[in-house]
Symmetry: C2
Subunit: 196 residues, 2 copies
Amino acid sequence: MAVTETLTAERILAATEEVLRRYGPAKATVVDVARALGVSHGSVYRHFRTKAALREAVTERWLERTFVPLAPFVEGSGPADERLTGWLTALFDLKRTKAGGDPELMATFKVLIGENSAVVDRHEERLVEQIARILADGHRAGVFAAPETDFRTTARAVFDATDRFHNPAHAAEWAGPDADAAFAAVVALVRRALRA
Amino acid sequence: MAVTETLTAERILAATEEVLRRYGPAKATVVDVARALGVSHGSVYRHFRTKAALREAVTERWLERTFVPLAPFVEGSGPADERLTGWLTALFDLKRTKAGGDPELMATFKVLIGENSAVVDRHEERLVEQIARILADGHRAGVFAAPETDFRTTARAVFDATDRFHNPAHAAEWAGPDADAAFAAVVALVRRALRA
C-alpha cells in the first residue's frame, strides 16, 4: 500500500520525525525511515542527499509549526500592545504544550536544534521580525514609543528578555507553580518599557 | 605537613571543590577528599555528615562568591539606575568569566546545581532581594517609578528578563559576537521599564 503512494518530501519528513521520536536521534538511520515508508533508502536519498540534510529539514518543519498560532497576532488588527502580549503568550503556551505533551519528541528536537544552529538562527530571526512588525504597528498607532535605535534591536531585546519562556533550555521550569506569575511580570515589564 | 593543620570546614570545602573539579562530580568520593587533605574520611564526616551535605556546602560556597563583585552596587551611593546597570553587568561578567575560564569547574557546578535546587533557589532569592533594594533606593530618589505591585515582583521580573545573561544554561552563548550588544539592549529595555 505505502509503496504505491507518491513519495513526497513531506511524507519522508513526517516519517523521519516519527522514526527519530521512536528510536531517538542517536540511533535513527535513513534505512529506518525507508523501512517505515516501505521504500528503498535510495528513494529517500533522491529527496534528501544526506542524513544531515534530512535531519535539518525535519528541524525546519518542526520549527515552522511555531508560526501557526502566532499568525493572528502578527496580522491582527487589535491594539499593538495586546497583540504583543497575545503573541508572547501564544509562543509560551505552544512551547510549554510541546514540552509537556511529548517528552520524547522534545528530547529529540533538543538534539536536532543543537545540530542545526543555522536553522535555529533563521527561525529566531523570523520570530524577531514578527515582534518588530508589531512594534512598528504600535508606534504608528501611538501605543508604543519610538525605539531607542531601531525596531529590530528593540524586538530582539523583547525576544531575549522573554527567553526564559520560550527557550527549550528552560522547559523543566515551565510546569512550576510560579511560571505563569513570572511570565506575567516579565510581560508587564516589557510593555512598560515600550509604551508611548 | 597537612595533617598538623587544623581541619576546618573551609579547608574541607576547598579540597572538595578541587577533587570534584579533577575527578568530575560522578566519580569524586569523600575518600578522595580525605586523601587530598591527608586525613581519614571519618575526620571529613565529623564536619559534613553525608556526602550529599558536603556537596551541598560546596555548591553554597561557590554561589556565595557571586556576591563579592555585586556588593559595591548594592551598597553604593551612586544613582540607582546606574547601580542597577552596574549590578547586572557585574553579574554577567562574573558568570561569563567563570564559564570561559575553567570549563571543568563550570561543568562540575552545572551538575551540583542540578542536585541542589533548594540552595540555588535561596541564592536566587538573595540576588532578587539585592535588585529589590536598588529599586527601592531608586524609587525613593525619584529615579524609578513606583512598582506595579511591589519591589519584589518587579525585581524578580528584572532578574528573569536578564536570565539569558546569568543563567549557566546559556553559558555557550556568552562568547558569541552579539552577546554584549544583546545584553546592552535588554538592560536598556529594563531601564526604560523602570524609569520614573
